[in-house]
Symmetry: D2
Subunit: 305 residues, 4 copies
């Protein structure tokens, strides 16, 4: 497999030039557009890494999967899904239209920005700081990486330029989806998005999901299997922004992308996959990364359908 990973990276480098870095978060434009890396962690403990697998990038929207798991564990299904829906939207990730036009007014799912901000607002804790610490501890546990930290520059950049997310949050406060302090909730969200990772960390998250929420090292169940299933289903139906349907057909495994260029994917019962490639397509997904995982899925016949 190691050889094949190297080949995949070489084969797909050509797509990088057709994408772009996301200009609306100034700090992200400083990323290395040419970076391309991939890691695979299988449930039998093997790890494969290729390309720029040591390249550090911020996790961004991939964090939505983890904060959803934490909110489900803390609040339960009923509380969470009374406030956030289960349906794909077909709209861009930062759209407000359905909040205004569909009754009752609640974000359609936890993978779009509105839904993810609502989820972050549910995390229990006395202060934003406390909530972030808890989230970070959860990330460290799942990735088995005690060194995970927040990239302060990216966090400050998102906070400074996050007015669209602020608009979403205040709208949800107005309709009662967010019950707490808006700025505090946004702070948790901006910080969780700014956690710095490598493809290895992402692949380990994927393996954790593939293993139904059981820690690969300790063998201890960290998240109820039922919630893992929910997270994987959202990844399958809405994980790749408004290209999720196309990805489901062409790749066929649960995945979640972030505008930092990362892609998390999971093959139930088999392995986790982490990819990085900061050059994005117009929907916000890593342009070369999507091709890489498509090749990988075809080669190993990973599609679940």
């Amino acid at each position: 497999m190691q050889e094949y990973l190297n080949k995949i990276i070489e084969d797909n480098k050509k797509y990088i030039e057709y994408g772009a870095l996301p200009e609306y978060i100034p700090e992200l434009v400083k990323a290395n557009k040419d970076a391309l890396g991939m890691s695979v962690v299988s449930l039998d403990g093997k790890e494969y890494h290729a390309g720029d697998y040591q390249y550090k990038f911020t996790i961004q929207s991939i964090s939505k999967v983890i904060s959803l798991l934490l909110a489900l564990e803390e609040k339960g299904e009923e509380y969470v899904f009374n406030r956030v829906g289960m349906e794909p939207t077909g709209d861009p990730f930062n759209s407000m239209i359905k909040l205004e036009t569909v009754r009752p007014s609640k974000p359609f799912n936890p993978m779009i920005n509105a839904g993810a901000i609502a989820i972050s607002s549910m995390i229990e804790g006395r202060s934003s700081m406390g909530k972030v610490e808890k989230l970070l501890a959860f990330f460290r546990q799942i990735t088995d990486n005690p060194d995970l930290t927040i990239n302060e520059n990216v966090y400050l950049s998102e906070k400074r330029t996050g007015d669209r997310n602020r608009a979403l949050a205040y709208f949800m406060k107005d309709v009662g989806v967010i019950e707490k302090d808006v700025e505090g909730s946004l702070d948790v969200y901006f910080k969780q998005c700014s956690i710095e990772v490598t493809t290895r960390d992402i692949a380990r998250i994927g393996a954790f999901l593939a293993n139904n929420g059981v820690d690969l090292i300790t063998g201890k169940s960290l998240v109820r299997e039922k919630y893992i299933k929910i997270a994987k289903t959202f990844m399958f139906t809405c994980g790749m922004y408004n290209a999720s349907g196309e990805f489901a057909i062409n790749v066929g495994i649960p995945a979640k992308s972030g505008v930092g260029g990362g892609i998390l994917a999971t093959v139930p019962g088999q392995m986790g996959i982490g990819i990085v490639g900061p050059s994005l397509d117009e929907k916000g997904n890593s342009i070369a990364g999507v091709q890489m995982i498509r090749d990988f899925s075809e080669k190993y016949k990973l599609s679940i359908l």
Copy 2:
């Protein structure tokens, strides 16, 4: 005329029960739902008052006309209309849909909340306080009422519950329509909406507009005639929320309503009209007030078309 005003009030009291007080601003629910008053100020200096013309209410959206005039005087047409459009929308006053779906993203006109908040953000001044003082001085001059002040309870109530307006403002900050501090701009907006008036004050604003921006007492021009014309046109095409078209057909004079129950109307070259009636119809206009001004316009054949 005095007699006819008394009659109009009696005739239309019956509509009060079919309306309601606006529940989304808690302080406004404390209004006297049964109040009904009307003032007329003609350009030859005569004044007529009937019913609860001494009843105090907050000016709310009627203030949008005045802040537009001030912004035009301070910034000029080009600056203002590069950031706010000139078109009626057909949408509710607090809608966000067109901000997301129409390019370039700017509020359609200065009479909907988004447009009015953008206008308030343009007022020059070192601080929110300074801007509000300037606006208040302008209101006092136009109404010839040095005692106008802000109702602090209403202001605080709007500020506390103004999350939908906050959402609009942050969206506009994101797309560059609002260039300055969002919370400061909102503060100006919430305060201008909380100015406390009587129907006499409103009728004097109407007379000022009818007199093309010339102060009725001093004879001094306070606002360029061109800008007065712009304000009157907006009142005609978008002054009564998404019932503006119906009002233009049934009443036919420029008018602006507020959720405090007030209606400002102006008959070019003739008179200004102020009405109060806090019980609102579902579009947000004074339910009895609209009927009163309709009767009045028919009786004196005031329609401009």
Copy 3:
């Protein structure tokens, strides 16, 4: 005035090149893009003509004003406005969005395509042919031009390519706004749009409106004054597609444009104006024509506000 009309045409020819002919109706692309003409008919019987005032063009959306008058005369206000609203929309003339999103589902006003098709469906008559004959007779009477006919090529072209209008009509049939045969209603609509006129015909319609529905020659009232007022109000608030608000501010008189390049305008109590200039701006209005009428309105201070 004759001299000034000539000057207006010369002054505004320069705008022609920035516009385009409407490509979605193949037959209209054959128009002479450089034509520019203007007629004024005053209520005291004087007529002024300049430029290509003998150029023949199809009336298109300007016909919506006349069919509205006929429907009001035949069916009355209540029937008409139970099925078509009174509000400007801010949307493009062929938009379907509000039909789907706003309850009850009815076209917002008679000046957008959906509303105009609904109005045409209300015209009484045994057959499409009979309805069209009646409409045509009404047009001939108002314009005092017994030679008005339908341009068969344009009609067939619109019928062949009118699928967007068909979509609007079937949607309205589904929600009960259109009660009769859809194809028959569309046939009336396509035919009324294909009536061939000159600027003189249009100016005479404007004079008829300025004269409150009284025939200039016979002195006989053809349409109730109340309905004329309704038509003029719609022209003012929604007559120039989604540039109506801007036109109201910059020009300030009731007007209606058509994609054939025509503009109808009326100055209450004074005169009617007809303009042609087939090169259109992106909203669908004659690009030079809008400038011409703006100059004209400023010169003679015609704005009603």
Copy 4:
């Protein structure tokens, strides 16, 4: 299993009263609201039937899966997906909004009405009759039921009241998604929806999909495996109208419902499921049927995630 199927039907009868028959197709209101039946066909050839499995109902939207397969076989992926997208929409099945607001204008997926009508317009054939015959032959082959026919009353009822679908079709004609005769395409669509089936037929379709397009009896491949995968993925992401996301989470297998009360489901490699229950929830899915398949999936742990 037989016993369990009987139990499922008894357990879920209580939901019937909370649903309703679809009133917009008059002929469907004549259905037996209380009918409830279920069939399972496993790949090893076993069949289980319970309740009203002999009840005849029209296939409705379930036919969208089969017409998609036929269009893919005839035209190939590129042709099909140039005209119809791959994304879930979150909107009601008959929505037109995204056709107008998202560029390029094409239906988001083949499971909503717009997409399915576009798919039907692609079927090759000299006449509507010929296309329908071909579709019907394909249905008969897949279900191994040579007696399948069209319910003429339902077909005529849909044709007569199908104005919303007509609106969708003409809109698509206007933007070039439908290239052929609109009424002919609609005729194919209305007829395919009116094919009369039992749960056994539906379960056999599910088994055919579970068997990757290989006929269970002859062992012959009728549809390329790749296309079967595409169909199953659409069923998973958009098969249950705008409740697809919730169904994916709660049930977790590819399924497609129809307003005739049917539900088709497939468990890859294992079995096909057919359910009928004409009482529908507000999204248009069989209200008891959804509960039945949820119980069934939980009992046998069928979820693919």
